[in-house]
């Protein structure tokens, strides 16, 4: 019964995803699918962050950093030619175990690069390990201090991307090949694969949503919420609060890194702007608009706002818009935009008026 209630919205989402695709097909507006695909990937970051912030009560202003770790590593590993190092023991070993693929570059030269699956696993693992390493000390901090520390981490990753030749400096990495998930199913930006990629992205989102919905309704989810509610009491109930905070931090970092990997293969590249501080602020703003402890809210807002942003609706004020959204939400709707009930407000407005009337007549 509870389970049914949990999964019905997922089915609804699935229907919506298919419906939108069909609609774009019949109206000839298939170009929307590109932005919807990217929005879907960004939403994976957002819902992971939503569980960390809304349920675990820990803020992170460094999630664009984890996204970038995933994207940059996957991009670099699958594009840099290992041919010159062919005779090194490690490379030979990797080649023999099938972790490398040989191909031809544009000019017919031999290319030897890491297989996308191996690169993806490496990238996501690296993000997880980095999150685990910095999470230990950083999550001892609370509130503003945690925000500052994670912000610092994000800036470091941004600067590393910008300064390292291996990661393409200011140009980033381009010509990233597609990522064959299964035979015939490839994450790539090629025109013919647009519909397929739309469905791949949404399949990833749906799996991520189901995993996180399960998690927050489990014993672990309850423990995370208790940390948010009263950390000291949670500890006294036997919850290893520091370990739970660390694990949820790592989990959300892994979600961000996975999204980074997939976006990089989809776009065929990644640049330093993906690691920028403003991206992290954007993710936090979206979680706030969605209502913090609300996976569906975060997902809906993640899709809507990212879609509008990618369509260029906000123009060159893009980052400013997200800043304004954050301020307005904190001031007027700290429970998230979906919790605003206009009818309720109208009713309470009139009931106040009516009450004042009543008092007037009582006086006279």
């Amino acid at each position: 019964m509870d389970l049914l209630k949990r999964y019905i919205p997922v089915l609804f989402l699935l229907g919506l995803v298919i419906g939108i695709q069909l609609m774009t097909h019949f109206t000839g507006t298939g170009y929307y699918l590109t932005q919807l695909t990217m929005s879907a990937y960004y939403s994976v970051v957002v819902i992971g962050l939503c569980v960390l912030m809304g349920y675990g009560g820990q803020i992170s202003l460094g999630h664009a950093g984890f996204f970038a770790i995933g994207g940059y590593l996957a991009g670099a590993l699958t594009t840099h030619n290992l041919m010159p190092f062919k005779d090194y023991g490690l490379i030979t070993f990797l080649d023999r175990t099938g972790m490398l693929v040989a191909s031809k570059d544009l000019y017919g030269g031999d290319l030897l690069t890491v297989e996308p699956w191996a690169a993806c696993i490496t990238a996501v693992l690296a993000a997880g390990i980095i999150a685990f390493t910095i999470g230990g000390p950083v999550l001892k901090l609370k509130g503003h201090y945690l925000a500052m520390a994670t912000l610092g981490f994000g800036i470091i990753i941004y600067r590393i991307g910008l300064a390292t030749q291996y990661f393409g400096e200011a140009d980033g990495i381009s010509e990233v090949p597609g990522f064959k998930l299964l035979p015939g199913i490839e994450v790539s930006g090629s025109f013919g694969a647009r519909v397929l990629n739309y469905y791949i992205a949404w399949a990833v989102v749906i799996v991520a949503v189901i995993l996180l919905l399960n998690l927050i309704h489990s014993r672990v989810g309850r423990a995370l919420r208790s940390i948010h509610g009263a950390e000291e009491a949670a500890n006294a109930m036997g919850v290893n609060t520091s370990r739970y905070k660390l694990y949820i931090f790592v989990l959300s970092a892994v979600f961000a890194a996975l999204a980074g990997v997939l976006v990089t293969h989809y776009n065929g590249g990644i640049g330093p702007s993906e690691a920028g501080v403003m991206k992290s602020v954007r993710y936090v703003a979206i979680v706030a608009v969605g209502g913090m402890a609300n996976i569906w809210g975060a997902l809906i807002m993640g899709i809507v706002l990212n879609f509008l942003s990618l369509r260029g609706v906000f123009g060159s004020y893009d980052d400013a818009v997200f800043g304004i959204i954050l301020i307005v939400i904190m001031l007027f709707a700290p429970q998230g935009i979906l919790k605003i009930n206009p009818w309720q407000q109208v009713k309470s407005f009139f009931s106040v008026l009516a009450a004042e009337r009543g008092e007037d007549t009582a006086d006279s």
């Binding site: 489990s218 672990v220 919420r225 509610g229 009263a230 500890n235 006294a236 109930m237 036997g238 609060t241």
Partner: protein, 254 residues
């Protein structure tokens, strides 16, 4: 050996000796009360036992194992549960969910099992829920089960906190002023409840200001004043103890 043994425990805050060389035992199956004027170090003592504060020196043994130096969650797992003077419930969660947290150490589903919603966790979840509801019933706050905790009255919150502490099935229950803010009827109710808890085999150590409650239910009383233990005796002897009367009522000359 006693269930809880406190040996030469010390805790200083700067120059203040909040707990000064305190030793006493709590016997299995008894109710022991710690009393003393405000600032006597009672709550500090509780925080030392529960692991919220490290001691400067001294030892605490629980069930033959030394527990000072351990983290609160480790101590909780060994069977010590507590309530707080200023109620500490989990906001944003319902009363039932709060009590379900009390079952945390009695269940084991982790991150992976939770994310995949593995079938073996289902009966566990059901048991957590059922047990939590039982404890809410026991405390007479069953009707609050689905209410968010901040919408409950003070008395109901106290009941939920009590239920949460009991839901861990502790060996030793630490109660920090369980009757604070309650009227005389509710206090009498709490007294009966604590006696019932003792009869179910749980040892109770409580800090309390309400003397009639303490004298009624305690098997033994420890009196603290300015961090030092000044008396440890049966309730009716404590009532006669001149030192205790002096610190509570002041000197005749004063």
């Amino acid at each position: 050996m006693a269930l809880l043994e406190i040996q030469n425990l010390n805790r200083r805050f700067g120059g203040l000796k909040a707990v000064n060389n305190v030793s006493f035992n709590v016997e299995q199956g008894s109710i022991k009360a710690v009393i003393g004027p405000n600032g006597a170090g009672k709550t500090t003592l509780f925080n030392l036992i529960a692991g919220n504060l490290p001691a400067n020196s001294g030892k605490i043994y629980f069930n033959h194992a030394q527990i000072n130096g351990q983290k609160p969650y480790q101590i909780a797992k060994q069977g010590i549960s507590r309530t707080y003077q200023n109620i500490k419930l989990f906001h944003g969660m319902t009363a039932l969910e709060n009590v379900m947290l009390g079952r945390h150490i009695r269940s084991r589903a982790g991150f992976i099992a939770g994310m995949l919603n593995l079938p073996w966790t289902w009966p566990e979840e059901k048991e957590i829920r059922d047990k939590a509801q039982e404890y809410l019933n026991l405390l007479g706050v069953a009707e609050c089960a689905d209410t968010e905790i901040s919408n409950l009255s003070f008395g109901q919150q106290r009941g939920v906190e009590f239920a949460r502490a009991l839901a861990t099935e502790p060996t030793l229950l630490l109660l920090d002023e369980p009757a604070a803010g309650l009227n005389i009827y509710e206090t009498a109710e709490i007294g009966r409840l604590i006696t019932k808890i003792k009869e179910s085999g749980i040892t109770v150590l409580l800090v309390e200001h309400d003397m009639s409650l303490v004298m009624d239910i305690s098997d033994e009383i420890v009196v603290l004043s300015f961090g030092e233990k000044i008396a440890e005796d049966l309730p009716h002897n404590i009532q006669q103890n001149e030192e205790v009367i002096r610190i509570y009522l002041g000197d005749e000359d004063a």
